[in-house]
Symmetry: C2
Subunit: 192 residues, 2 copies
């Protein structure tokens, strides 16, 4: 990313990464300490902000309704595996099953990561009110040794489980107040 | 586009222009003689090539299954309006209705162009055999006076109807021999 200005992209270019690219290039790069992607996906603690405050934190300023961040993993309990996904105004609640992300090569498919979908609810569980804000949370599943060769394995192990890559989506189709569905247009952001 | 190297794009960036961008930025820019988009969409006479030979002519080298070109309009008859869309191996046949392309602004919607879809058929009409190659043909509908202010109107008038912008798509879903539909994967190009 070094030397490439997002503002100088030709008209029509958009950030449309595949799940495989998000895991293999961006998230593994972050975990390994690679610095050269900082211009595309910034690091932010997503749960310190309400979802409607996140778009302006994105490095990529476009009309897209999807924004990407690295987020440190906040454990709910020091030794537990559950993440704390509460914000001041509400909480992110997982929905559906986690999906496998596989990398394809000539030798076949390899599991490289997992993708979880969460919906933002206003208020406090279990009485929160569902909103149109969606989070896709990506995490690496490869063993740390496979991630990178230039960084000491113990360093990687320390960082391995500390980051998610998240994409925040405002889902017009579920809660949009405009006529986006009928016209196919992308609606403006709605602040709840 | 000047000074931007397509090869240096960060991972995950792809050319995903809207219809409005194709008409308002690229095609009107071409008609007006603007040179600064040459790196993104090259000019080529699409009917001088078979569709399966076009991907390698694209300026954007990716795994995408859509390729963009400016194409001069070849009139079938010197004073007629029908375009000659035959190649050596077959012909492009229009399908469905032309669709309006509108530009949105605070003052409302304006018709800026039309989009036609054509399917490549091997052989000669009317007995050609349908293939999976699709062409989306974009043309400008604005009056030439509105297109550009820096070029003399008579120059613009001369060029106004001489170019299409076309996107060539290989439609996996209709004729793919691989398992793309079931797996969601993008299949490799198939040469007919």
């Amino acid at each position: 990313m070094a030397g490439v200005s997002l503002g100088s992209m030709p008209v029509g270019f958009r950030f449309r990464p595949t799940d495989e690219e998000l895991i293999n290039h961006y998230l593994k790069g972050k975990i390994s300490g690679r610095k050269d992607n900082d211009g595309v996906i910034p690091e932010i603690d997503v749960c310190k902000f309400e979802p409607w405050d996140l778009p302006e934190k994105s490095a990529i300023k476009t009309g897209d309704q999807e924004w990407f961040f690295f987020s440190p993993r906040n454990r709910k309990y020091p030794n537990g595996q559950r993440s704390n996904r509460a914000t001041v105004a509400g909480y992110w609640k997982a929905t559906g099953k986690d999906r496998n992300i596989k990398s394809r090569s000539v030798s076949g498919e390899n599991l490289i990561g997992m993708k979880r979908t969460l919906v933002f609810h206003r208020g406090r569980a279990p009485k929160g009110e569902k909103t149109g804000w969606i989070m896709h949370e990506y995490r690496v599943t490869n063993s740390p040794e496979k991630i990178i060769d230039k960084v000491k394995v113990d360093q990687v192990c320390e960082q391995f489980d500390l980051y998610f890559l998240v994409s925040i989506v405002f889902n017009c189709l579920s809660l949009c107040l405009c006529d986006a569905v009928e016209t196919g247009r992308t609606c403006d952001l709605i602040t709840f």
